[in-house]
Subunit: 263 residues, 3 copies
């Protein structure tokens, strides 16, 4: 898996990545996709989501500020994406926090083909049917063996599972990666998790091996975060620097810093 | 009132602060709460707001981009917060600008218990039944004696009143503060008022004396703004620096700069 | 046409610029208007848009994340603006990408008087009835002679046409400008197009000659972008610097850098 090869393909092909995401980090989702070289488009009207998905190369769904109508639009977009054969990434943001989030996550998963399920430990554990308590949308320590959860859920849902945290787990199609890039400062800024999902959306849009694409996306994004952090005073300058370092990310940066192992 | 003691408690307890806020500054509301050490959660679906309020320690309502449905969700969330006994902060953003804003502000105030009403001079004056003209959502000079308005409204609504401006008035439970921190640059950036409300939401989430918590929130936030301003070239770098300085704010910063007097 | 004279009037009069815009760049639209000295207000509830337009000096409509209900609110706001006689600017963001966007753009144009239609080449070409393919919301090369399209559409719709790109075309009332300011970095950041529209909204709010106001807005905004770019490392620092340079923009900056010619 060469993470930078995938990024180069994103920069070359500039795939349109259609998003139905939350209203908090929607700008950051769009901008991180843009600075990595892809072309974000945000559209959620039920009358146009199917059409928009048809001109896209990938679809990102994020339930952060879901409503019931919005989930219906997500399903319509995903059906269109499924028909076209483009990958669909689902961020189960806040799953476990309320019954609605759980119900709607399962409604999506049971209505359409999802290619990547992404969340933090407690969110993904909840989707896997494990009982965990979520405190808002922040990650929480979960005792369960996360790799086993990823493997089991991947088999059940026939998709790639991404669990982000201090170490990220990517698992699908019988193979997986553990990624140790990133920095603590990411936890002090709203939107770093959502942006990770959007970057995954850009990478899977151009690369056939979806597990490699997810891992490559996290590596590039988190290496950019490490670089950004080195010249930051706090979370404000960090987020700003992150857009710069993602835009400027070079092959040698990734080569020097990548911390990945196979599972 | 030791403002920094309250901030330390926020950083220690990391309270979940549930928001139903506007779509313009929603990111900044979440991020300022995050960098001050609390855990923001934004959720507005009528099916989940009551559940989300139940796992929160405080609720922030901001009518900046209100719709009638959204106000119904706010009321459902606030009822749940009232039942649980957690504080509810209402930013009457833009009150006085349209009949809808006035009507909906009063609908909220007459439907649920609000612990803090916050706005600029003309907004709060309008809620107090004084005739003033609002020019959009910016503050305007109001001739009425604002402290008297705060006292009267506090008595009538049995809550804490926060009026922000060059000097901020905090009044409730028969006591009050006048705060003179902050800087002119805050008036050149969209969202500084909304962020103040969200910081208040974080502070009242961990502190029983709600008047002290409101005053402490404004002191910490505005001292952070003063520090940010010292290294800013304009409103862009200022807002960025504000997230840094809020994150890094230390006891000595507050001690050195605090400008507060009792009313 | 003295671009800086118009900016000075914006700074002096601080016009309220009412927006119904998209959820991606709504903050940036508000903030760029603010840092240029005007007073943005964002309000979309169908019950208040007419009232809000009545206290504004200009109205900006941007269909970036349209829904059918939202378009109804836009039309209600624009009718109110038409009655009051204040200018209405329409950004046909993403026109050509889906049938809904085309239908809704024409619905607006056929329901109310629009004073400025603004988009990139492919968006405006679509509104002019030319067949072009849009790849998401990014600009694309269009073979048609854009100046001819602007002239024709201006005559048909009796309004000013603004087509942004490497060179910007402004045409209306039988006269026009070609503007060559700006920098490539603008294309690497989400929201630069939307912000341009909002700045146009601020400038037309204070200036009778709407073609001059549109051209002046683009000149000032793009000169600010050039200045921002000179001290930027990438798109993150660029956007931040842009808010600073727009706020600090001086007459000599504009005089030194302006690149405009009459059509």
């Amino acid at each position: 898996m060469d993470a930078f090869d995938i990024l180069e393909k994103v920069r070359l092909e500039k795939p349109v990545v259609h998003h139905l995401t939350n209203w908090v980090t929607i700008y950051d989702c769009a901008n991180i996709v843009k600075v990595f070289g892809a072309s974000p488009v945000m559209a959620h009207a039920k009358e146009e989501v199917a059409d928009m998905a048809k001109i896209a190369s990938g679809l990102v769904l994020n339930i952060g500020t879901l409503t019931v109508d919005f989930i219906d639009s997500m399903i319509a977009a995903a059906k269109s994406a499924n028909e076209k054969g483009i990958p669909v990434v689902l961020d189960v943001c806040g799953a476990g926090a309320t019954k609605l989030r759980d119900d709607m996550s399962f409604k999506i998963l049971n209505s359409v083909k999802i290619d990547v399920i992404k969340g933090n430990a407690s969110e993904v554990a909840r989707i896997a049917g494990e009982q965990v308590a979520t405190k808002g949308v922040d990650s929480s320590d979960v005792e369960k063996d996360l790799i086993e959860i990823a493997k089991k859920l991947s088999g059940e849902r026939k998709c790639c599972i991404v669990i982000t945290g201090k170490e990220d787990i990517v698992y699908g199609n019988g193979k997986g990666y553990l990624i140790s890039n990133g920095c603590d400062m990411m936890g002090n800024v709203v939107g770093t998790g959502c942006m990770a999902t959007s970057v995954i959306g850009a990478f899977v849009s151009v690369w056939d091996d979806i597990v490699d694409a997810c891992a490559g996306a996290l590596v590039c994004y988190e290496v950019a975060a490490e670089i950004a952090n080195e010249t930051s005073k706090g979370p404000g300058s960090f987020k700003n620097n992150l857009f710069d370092s993602a835009f400027l990310l070079g092959r040698s940066d990734v080569k020097k810093r990548i911390k990945i192992k196979s599972l």
